[in-house]
Every structure is written in structure tokens, then in C-alpha cells.
């Protein structure tokens, strides 16, 4: 039997808008994934450290502060510096369309889910795109 997909749901930045992060964490757990939630106010360094320690397949960043163009590249760079580029980065939050194009074109995020995305669609995307062995 295949092992479960491991996900770190992370809340970088200073804001406390954790409704989305917690709903997603619970939804992914209910869909059979192993989920770790970092809690609030995490620095990119703390997130990457947790991702490596918890040996996750994917990091989901929840960002509603507008700082996405700073935080995604930072997490991306830190994963590479720590030889953990196999960990996939996805995200969710209030990210304008233009910025989603920028984030994906640079490889800083594989996918961004915006308000209105259903839990099922996120679960399906992860199941399809995260390869585990």
C-alpha cells in the first residue's frame, strides 16, 4: 500500500488570517493526507526547517498579506540551499492573476489556489501532481 502524502500547511508573514490555512489543513487530513500545520507568524527559515524535519512532499503557503512576491521566492531559495528542492511549493490566498503568472513562471510556486477553490479541487490537484514513492 502506498504511503500517505505528507503536507506542511504554513502561515508565513505577520498577519493572523488563519481561517483558510486551518480549513485546508483539516480538509487535506480528512482526505487521507498527513498534515502538519505550523501555526502563525512563521519566517521562511522556520517553514523550511519544519518542511525538512517533517519530511513532507509539499509545502502549502497561505498568504493574505500581499507579501506573496517576497515570501514564495524566499521559501523556494531556502529549500534549494538546503538541498530540499524535491519538496513542492503550492499556495493559496488573495493573489492577483498577474502575480500568479509571475509566481508560476519563475517556478516559485507550482500552483496557487484563490478564494472560491473547493477543498475537493485542491485535494484532487495534490493527488494528481504530487508523486510519492
Amino acid at each position: 500500500m502506498a504511503r500517505k502524502i505528507r503536507v506542511l500547511v504554513a502561515k508565513p508573514g505577520l498577519d493572523g488570517h488563519d481561517r483558510g490555512a486551518r480549513v485546508i489543513a483539516r480538509g487535506l487530513r480528512d482526505a487521507g493526507m498527513e498534515v502538519v500545520y505550523t501555526g502563525l507568524h512563521q519566517t521562511p527559515e522556520q517553514i523550511v526547517e519544519a518542511a525538512i524535519q517533517e519530511d513532507v512532499d509539499v509545502v502549502g503557503l497561505s498568504i493574505l498579506s500581499g507579501a506573496h512576491l517576497t515570501l514564495f521566492p524566499r521559501v523556494y531559495d531556502l529549500l534549494r540551499e538546503n538541498n530540499a528542492e524535491d519538496i513542492m511549493i503550492i499556495g493559496g490566498g488573495t493573489v492577483p492573476d498577474d502575480d500568479i503568472v509571475t509566481l508560476k513562471a519563475n517556478g516559485w510556486a507550482k500552483e496557487i489556489f484563490t478564494p472560491g477553490a473547493t477543498l475537493d479541487s485542491i485535494v484532487e490537484w495534490i493527488n494528481t501532481n504530487v508523486k510519492i514513492n
Binding site: 500547511v9 508573514g13 505577520l14 498577519d15 493572523g16 488570517h17 488563519d18 481561517r19 490555512a21 486551518r22 480549513v23 489543513a25 483539516r26 480538509g27 487530513r29 498534515v35 500545520y37 505550523t38 501555526g39 502563525l40 507568524h41 519566517t43 498579506s65 500581499g66 507579501a67 512576491l69 517576497t70 515570501l71 488573495t94 492577483p96 492573476d97 498577474d98 484563490t114 478564494p115 472560491g116 473547493t118 477543498l119 475537493d120
Partner: protein, 553 residues
């Protein structure tokens, strides 16, 4: 009444019989909070309503019908749009623009580093300066923010919590610079730390020292800044975090009573500070549920303040509140629809007797609002105030079988939660047990599931979707130069100010914080010397410690 109870019972029985043959739509008939509602309400549902005891006249105990005797015939609600972005200079220009458009009060949004007590050049502020509000590092920025705006003429609401005491002192000091005496300053600081632990999560210090800062503010304001609303006890964020209407109502009032108890425990007379407590509620999309929530809130507050806390001053028993329409009811899809949602929500707030109102802009779900969308939001209120005729009659829905029954139901449900909170040892203990946080998380998850399964329809999101929709509304973007400029500004300030004066004032503040003296005069000394917010918060972190939550989901 011309009909006897028997007549009504008989007529209702006949109606039920004929109704049973009718098929209803395949739909779940409940409020947005999953509270089931009947299809019909009749006099039977409010049989026990005692007009004088339960409703009374407007401006009279228990204030169910409103806190002023003439409500909107005397004065319309204050149209108060929350705004702030980038630097103090740019926000100052936005405030002046809003004032020329007919807005009657200011409402300051701070950026996240200011809210969390970091100066703009702190590493944790990187990328967040000026993004979701204005960056204020010192009195210098506060002076710029209100340049050319006479602080004895406008009332200002500041959405600031953990470091509220510091920003409030900067505002007082900015007033001093304009020559405005303290007793003429009017406005509100949110200063509601309990809902931060419960929902909004912008905490810095642990609960006990945080409560001490709040009671110090109560004491100082009652003596020196008597027209200031010292705390805006907020359900807004509890609701935005996913709570139901009943949870918003109950947790907010419970927080309010906790502040009252803290004030009394600090040796204050309840009537010396309770008149300056104000509330802040959400206006969500379920129309009648919201109206009932506001009416129930006034009645519960009045009764408990009188009966449990012995408040004698009528103003201590009056629940005055600001309302903001529900950000979480807005959708990124077809954002123009948000104008309509906001208009219905604003109507509910006014029918519920709000004292002031913020209407959200259609694009707030995507980014900070543009000037055009802010204007539409303000115009929404002006149309409501001047064209619809709604403000002509006080509490016009009173006596509605449905609205009165729902108001009673809200109160009953609230009493159950109050009992549970009491059983857990009070608000602080319940926070420590993650009680509120888990209740809200459960409600948020349940709501998301009902949307995902289309049990609940959100127009443009899970039904009536425009395929291939593209965002074609203008998005306000913050220039990265804003952060660089603000960092340079605070660093220049630190090198140019009288640092000996700063150190002396900071040392005095540290002593006061370590002891039991009121810290407000000492914070004032620090900000007058241009100590920065981050420096003062750091001092408090060293004395008070920092709060950590247990992450749950």
C-alpha cells in the same frame, strides 16, 4: 388584539393542514449560520414577549429598539470608511480625499509590522511595510498622518490592539502638537486583545499583562481623555474567522464582560469606564439573522450591566456599536456582485441600529481598494441614508413575529454559551483551553463543506459561474519603494533625535511596567521623545514576555 390565542391556534392548524400538501423546493432552509428557521412566524411565537420589559422605548432600558431616543432622525450613523496604506503621507492624502467626499469620521488601517510591534526596518517587517495599511513607527509618522486635519474636529478610529496603548499615546501627542487639549480628542482604539487570542491572532504579550495595559488605558482615559472610546469590543474578526452569528454575538459580549470585570478588579468604578466601551460587529449576508443579532446584543448587554455589574449610569448599559459589512461574504469571482452584497448587509446594519458603518469595497477581496471602488462603497451608504427612507422610522422591524422570535432565540443561545464559558472558568481560561478557537474552526469547516457540496449557493462561485472569467478590475499596488523610504525615515529619526532623552524616558517606562503604576504617562513621555513603536514594544516583550498559541485545526 382582536383575535384570541385560540382563534390564531385554530387558523394556524388549518393552514398547516393545507400546507402539508405543498411541495417545497429542494433547499436547506436555514440561516448562513446553519440556524434552522420556520417557514412562518405568528403571534404564537412571541406570546411571552413583554413590550416594556423586553423592548421598551428607543433610548430606554433595555435598549432593544436602539440607544438614542430619536435614532437616525437626530443624527445619521457615522459613515466611516477604514483606510490606510503605504506611508503616512499617502494615507494623509487619502483621508483628505475621503473628508472632501463627505465622510464624517476617519478610520486608520495600520500595516502588519505596526500591528505586531515591529519597526519598518526590523527583519520581520521585510516585504510587509505599508501593504495592508499605513506604516507608523514614531510620533513623526503620526504627525504626518494627520497633517492639516484638525484633531478636535474629526473623530478617529484606530484599528490597533496589542500595541494600542503606544499608538494611542502617539495620537494624543500629535494632538498636543496641534494644540488640541486632551479632553477634546474623540475617537476609538480597538484595543480588544481578547478577540486577538480568539480569532484575529495579532497578539504580542500574554493575556494578563495585556489586560493590565487595557485597564491602565481605562483609568487614564476616564481622567484625561473622557470622550475617547477605550476599547471596541469586536465580533467582526470572530465572524470573519468563520464563526456563526450566535458565536459572534456571544463571544464578543463575553469579552466585553471580561473587560468590565478586569476594570472592576483593577479598582475602578464600573460607571467610570463602562460608558466608553463600544462594540464592533459584522454585517453578514443573512439579513434577518443579523438584525436580530444587534437587537439581542443591546438587550443582553443592558440587562447584565444593570443586574450583574450594578451599572447605574444609563450609558454604561447602552451597547453602542460600529458595523462593517462582511469581507468573508465577498467573492473574488465577478467582484462587481460584491456591491450588491454590501448594500444588503449595510441595510441590515442600519435596521439593526448601528452607530457607524464601514461598507466594503468590491475589490477588497483581491487587494487594497481603489479610489473608485471606495467611492461606490461610500455612495452605497449615502443612498441608504438619503434616498431609501429607511432611517425615517426607528427600529421598524420591531413587532415582526419573525424578528422578535429570532431576537429571543439569539438571546437563548447566547445564554447557553455564557454558561459553558463560565463552566470553563471564564474567558481567559476558555482561551487557554482553545475553546473559542475550536468552536470557530469547526464552524468555518462546516461552512466550507456546505459551499463545496453546493448545499449553500454562492453566486458566481459554485453556481452562476462565468466560464473563463478574467480579472479586469484595476488593482491597487504598493510600490516597493515605499518600504525603502520608510526604512530610511525611521533610521534617520533614530540618528537625529535626542537619544539621551529617549533613554531616560524608556528607563522610567521600564520601572513602571515592572511595577504596578499606570504606564500610560510613561509611554507618553517615550513617544514625545520620539522613541519608536518597535523600541517600546521590545521593552514590553522583555518585561511581559510573549504569547504563543497551540496551533489547532
Amino acid at each position: 388584539m382582536c383575535n384570541s390565542a385560540d382563534d390564531i391556534r385554530k387558523a394556524k392548524g388549518e393552514w398547516i393542514q393545507s400546507r402539508e400538501k405543498m411541495r417545497d423546493r429542494d433547499f436547506v432552509f436555514e440561516t448562513v449560520s446553519s440556524l434552522p428557521v420556520n417557514d412562518l412566524y405568528t403571534p404564537e411565537d412571541i406570546e411571552n414577549l413583554d413590550y416594556i420589559k423586553d423592548l421598551g422605548m428607543p433610548g430606554q432600558y433595555p435598549y432593544t429598539r436602539g440607544v438614542q431616543g430619536n435614532m437616525y432622525r437626530g443624527r445619521l450613523w457615522t459613515m466611516r470608511q477604514f483606510a490606510g496604506f503605504a506611508t503616512a503621507k499617502e494615507s494623509n492624502e487619502r483621508y483628505k480625499y475621503l473628508l472632501t467626499k463627505g465622510q464624517t469620521g476617519l478610520s486608520v488601517a495600520f500595516d502588519m509590522p505596526t500591528i505586531m510591534g515591529y519597526d519598518s526596518d526590523h527583519p520581520r517587517a521585510f516585504g510587509e511595510v505599508g501593504r495592508v495599511g499605513v506604516a507608523i513607527d514614531s510620533l513623526q509618522d503620526m504627525e504626518t498622518l494627520f497633517d492639516g486635519i484638525p484633531l478636535d474636529k474629526v473623530s478617529t478610529s484606530m484599528t490597533i490592539n496589542a500595541p494600542a496603548s503606544i499608538l494611542w499615546c502617539m495620537y494624543i501627542a500629535a494632538g498636543e502638537k496641534q494644540g488640541v487639549p486632551l479632553e477634546k480628542l474623540t475617537g476609538t482604539i480597538q484595543n480588544d486583545i481578547l478577540k486577538e487570542y480568539i480569532a484575529q491572532k495579532s497578539w504580542i504579550f500574554p493575556p494578563l499583562p495585556s489586560m493590565r495595559l487595557i485597564t491602565d488605558i481605562f483609568a487614564y482615559a476616564s481622567r484625561h481623555v473622557p470622550k475617547w472610546n477605550t476599547v471596541s469590543i469586536s465580533g467582526y474578526h470572530i465572524r470573519e474567522a468563520g464563526s456563526t452569528a450566535v458565536q459572534e454575538l456571544t463571544f464578543t459580549l463575553a469579552d466585553g464582560f471580561a473587560y468590565v470585570e478586569a476594570g472592576i478588579a483593577a479598582g475602578l468604578n464600573v460607571d467610570d469606564f463602562a460608558p466608553r466601551l463600544s462594540f464592533f460587529f459584522n454585517a453578514h449576508i443573512d439579513f434577518f439573522e443579523e438584525i436580530a443579532k444587534y437587537r439581542a446584543a443591546r438587550r443582553i448587554w443592558a440587562k447584565r450591566m444593570k443586574e450583574k455589574y450594578g451599572a447605574k449610569d444609563p450609558r454604561s448599559r447602552m451597547l453602542r456599536f460600529h458595523t462593517q459589512t462582511a469581507g468573508c461574504s465577498l467573492t473574488a469571482q465577478q467582484p462587481e456582485n460584491n456591491i450588491v452584497r454590501t448594500a444588503y448587509e449595510a441595510l441590515a446594519a442600519v435596521l439593526g441600529g448601528t452607530q457607524s458603518l464601514h461598507t466594503n469595497s468590491m475589490d477588497e477581496v483581491l487587494a487594497l481598494p481603489t479610489e473608485k471602488s471606495v467611492q461606490i462603497a461610500l455612495r452605497t451608504q449615502q443612498i441608504l441614508a438619503y434616498e431609501t427612507g429607511v432611517p425615517n422610522v426607528i427600529d421598524p422591524l420591531a413587532g415582526s413575529y419573525f424578528v422578535e422570535a429570532l431576537t429571543n432565540k439569539m438571546e437563548e443561545e447566547a445564554e447557553k454559551y455564557f454558561a459553558e464559558i463560565e463552566r470553563r472558568g471564564g474567558v481567559l481560561a476558555a482561551i487557554d483551553q482553545n475553546f473559542f478557537q475550536q468552536e470557530i474552526a469547526d464552524a468555518a469547516y462546516h461552512f466550507q463543506r456546505t459551499v463545496d457540496s453546493k448545499k449553500r449557493i454562492m453566486v458566481g462561485v459554485n453556481e452562476f459561474v462565468n466560464e473563463d472569467e478574467k480579472q479586469d478590475i484595476e488593482i491597487l499596488k504598493i510600490d516597493p519603494q515605499v518600504e525603502k523610504d520608510q526604512v530610511a525615515r525611521v533610521q534617520k529619526l533614530r540618528s537625529e533625535r535626542d537619544n539621551i532623552r529617549v533613554r531616560e524616558n524608556m528607563d522610567a517606562l521600564r520601572k513602571a511596567a515592572q511595577g504596578t503604576e499606570n504606564v500610560i504617562p510613561y509611554i507618553l513621555g517615550c513617544v514625545r521623545a520620539y522613541a519608536t513603536e518597535g523600541e517600546i514594544v521590545q521593552l514590553f516583550r522583555e518585561v511581559f514576555g510573549e504569547y504563543r498559541e497551540k496551533p489547532i485545526f
